[in-house]
């Protein structure tokens, strides 16, 4: 097999890898929770204690994973149980705030699906205790002026939006409590999740807390709902007392327990009390007190029922610094990105060597020529004194000297300790007093060149050239204050003659249309050539290889 064919095969395989990584939806597996974990919820089903949580591979892209309690430990499933849909609009951007309910038709997981507009309350059902779920779409709550689901919302306008929710299935009926952005709590009830009726009035119509809770839950106690609001480490339980709500609160401890955020992830009788779930935030492998961290861990916090928390137990621990990898193929993409960066950095040495060779050769030849007898000159005007040396190699000598000075000053003058030293001062001087003004000067040359080019070429030799010139003058003058000055002389009824308006229309309508047309052609052209190179159909790339 020839070298060329081998290169073509390698190029095809590498291209195919990246193409698949781009085109495959993120359902291949991988570390879906490598970035963050949170929102844990518990449920008991078929004698098993299950915990579902949201894993993110980067912020805002939540996927739901499952853990099962086995021999006193929580064991995480290798793959997620519920992922976002790329092709359905409800949860295109991720899943968050799950709630698990054991119902007759199966284990039901309700969640907030994120999309480009508002979060949508959706649900999925599992027949295998939560290992896999089948999505059923959004929960449908009856039309109501205050609250609508995604399907009924006119143009996405929902006056009051869901922030959180809690669901339960009791006595053959579904109960869903919705906590909204205005801190109200609504109750909806129905025989199934596609036919829920919203009560006429919210059960909580005014704010019970100053701040919005981190999480919200509801459980039943003696046929009455108990609202659970969690504010960081404070757990508030609200019970109805006449028309009001009475609260009871207790605080989760700091330290090894919940550091700052407890999550109302459902209550589970664990023998010694009730299981609350929480999240602990860590930084660089050790727990800290500050609320602003980089990684999360999920812990379970047990409560005796009197508000005294017991020792926590860890359920999910995330390794700090794990980079997000949505699919198995992303490992390769990451590696390739780093490889290219390194190669690109080394390539600068090739350029430097070329520069030094070129200028060094000039100096060397001029030096050789310096005392060369007449007739043996290698460079024009050679065999003469300093004047010719400067003429032939002066720039090269200056270039190499400044290059060396700049490298040394940058190397020594850019550290913190170099402040005030000659290296830092020299580097700043070379940059601020030489490079920046030279850059401005060279850039300004363009204007001069433009004038001579316009003067020479902008001749009205045909009708089209006339239109071109008129449009150019309108655009140039219209964007300047002088255009505004002229526009102020034109009455509003003659707006068409106002240069700023006219130039705006020319640029945003005519120019934009032409630019889009050229852009479409250019981009399709680049797709075609990329395809040819990838499939090995274009030999021009390999012309130097046999």
């Amino acid at each position: 097999m020839s070298k060329r064919n081998i290169l073509k095969i390698i190029a095809f395989v590498v291209g195919l890898y990246f193409f698949l990584e781009y085109i495959l939806p993120e359902k291949v597996g991988g570390e879906f929770d490598s970035y963050e974990v949170g929102c844990p919820v518990t449920v008991e089903r078929s004698g098993k204690k299950l915990q579902f949580y949201v894993g993110n591979y980067y912020k805002g892209r939540g996927i739901i994973g499952r853990m099962v309690k086995s021999s006193g430990k929580w064991v995480k499933d290798a793959k997620p149980c519920l992922q976002r849909s790329l092709f359905l609009k409800f949860d295109q951007y991720g899943l968050t705030e799950p709630d698990a309910v054991s119902a007759p038709e199966g284990l039901t997981l309700l969640y907030l699906g994120q999309n480009e507009k508002e979060p949508v309350l959706c649900y999925a059902v599992s027949e295998d205790d939560g290992q896999t779920f089948r999505k059923k779409g959004p929960v449908v709550i009856s039309t109501n002026e205050v609250f609508k689901t995604f399907e009924n919302a006119p143009n996405g306008q929902i006056p009051d939006r869901i922030k959180s929710f809690a669901a339960d299935f009791r006595n053959g009926l579904w109960e869903v409590y919705l906590f909204t952005m205005t801190y109200r709590v609504w109750r909806a009830e129905g025989p199934d999740l596609k036919h829920l009726s919203l009560e006429a009035a919210p059960i909580v119509s005014s704010t019970l807390t100053e701040k919005s809770p981190n999480s919200f839950d509801v459980y039943s106690e003696g046929g009455q709902p108990v609202l659970v609001y969690v504010m960081d480490r404070e757990i508030l339980e609200f019970r109805r007392s006449g028309n009001d709500w009475e609260s009871k609160s207790w605080k989760a401890p700091k330290g090894n327990g919940t550091n700052d955020t407890v999550y109302a992830g459902g209550r589970m009788d664990v023998g010694e009390g009730v299981l609350y779930l929480g999240t602990k935030k860590m930084q660089k492998g050790r727990p800290i007190d500050s609320p602003y961290e980089t990684q999360l861990a999920s812990v379970a916090l047990r409560d005796r029922g009197d508000g005294t928390p017991l020792a926590p137990e860890m359920s999910v621990y995330k390794k700090v610094g794990a980079s997000p990898r949505p699919t198995y193929l992303s490992y390769g993409t990451e590696w390739a990105g780093k490889f290219l960066t390194v190669v690109g950095s080394f390539a600068i040495f090739i350029a430097m060597i070329n520069l030094m060779l070129f200028h060094g050769k000039k100096i060397y030849q001029s030096a050789l020529n310096y005392n060369a007898p007449a007739g043996e000159d290698k460079l024009p005007g050679g065999g003469a004194p300093m004047r010719n040396f400067i003429k032939n190699a002066g720039y090269s000598a200056v270039f190499l000297i400044f290059l060396a000075v700049m490298i040394v000053c940058a190397w020594k003058g850019q550290t913190d300790e170099a402040k005030g030293t000659v290296w830092k001062t020299s580097f700043d001087f070379l940059f601020n007093a030489i490079q920046l003004p030279m850059g401005s000067a060279v850039f300004s040359m363009i204007t001069f060149y433009m004038i001579s080019a316009a003067y020479r070429s902008f001749k009205v030799r045909s009708l089209e050239a006339g239109f071109l010139m008129a449009a150019a003058i309108v655009c140039m003058v219209g964007q300047m204050p002088i255009g505004e000055l002229l526009a102020s002389l034109v009455p509003e009824s003659w707006k068409l003659l106002q240069l700023p308006w006219l130039s705006g229309k020319l640029l945003s309508v005519l120019n934009a249309a032409a630019y889009r047309a050229v852009l479409i052609g250019t981009l399709i052209g680049s797709v075609a050539i990329s395809l040819r190179i990838w499939l090995g159909l274009d030999n021009s790339v390999y012309s130097s290889v046999d």
Binding site: Y22, I23, L24, P25, E26, L86, F87, V343, G344, A347, I348, F349, I350, A351, N354, L355, L357, F358, K361, M438, G439, V442, F443, M445, I446, Y449, M450, S452, A453, A454, R456, S457, F458, Y515, V518, L519, I520, G521, T522, I524, G525, S526, V527, A528, I529, S530, L531, R532, I533, L535, L537, D538, N539, S540, V541, S543, S544
Partner: protein, 256 residues
Amino acid sequence: MDHATLPIIIFILLFSGFIITMIMLTKRGKEVFLRPINGLKVIDDAIGRAAEEDRPIMFNLGFDDLSVNLFCSLAVMGYVVRKAAKLSMPVYVPLAQPLAYAMAEEFWKDGYAAMGKEGMFAVEDCLRYMSSNQSALGAGIAGWIKRDHVGANFMFGTYGFESMMLAEAGQQAGAFQIACTPSFYQVPFFMVSCDYTVFGEEFYAAGAYFNRDPVLTGSLVGQDYSKLVLLILIVLGSLLLTIFQKTDYLRLLLQW
């Protein structure tokens, strides 16, 4: 985009299908008409004119790093170098990117070797890395053009504001100039200073234009079919949106 959506996948497959189908058809002998592109037709004339006046040729690869645009420019550079080598003319290639330097050197040496003129000109004299800073690049190339009194100046690639400097410097040196760029922003500058300007997708067609390889010509036709599909969608979409402004169903379809 972090991942493809369904419409993207459909378009990728559709356009690839058009391109591959046309390549297969042209390989089997289907005749394809390529509209003549004036700017590319006169490359031979430009080289010949420079040879007559005994003035060197310059080929600018633009500001591209390792990318598809660079490969297109290198393909044309290879052709120009071969033609120049046949006439024993030097081709100067100023470069802005270190990675591009490595590739350009291979193509340049290969061009001279193919004509049996290997070693005729020193590589470091003809291929020079100028700078990755646009101001320095423009000033350096402008100086080179004027000092060496370049006879033909080819500018193939992506350019920034240095395009005006190169083109006008070449104009003032009296060089025959051909510019070919996908950079829409620089086209006006090239138009006023160059003898011929080729832009947009014609830049990508340049490679096919010279050797008329069935693969390359077939892919050009495939591209045209892709553009036709987009054109139909644009017209249809505009019409439907204008007529059915208030119907949610069609609005959703169009927003899909």
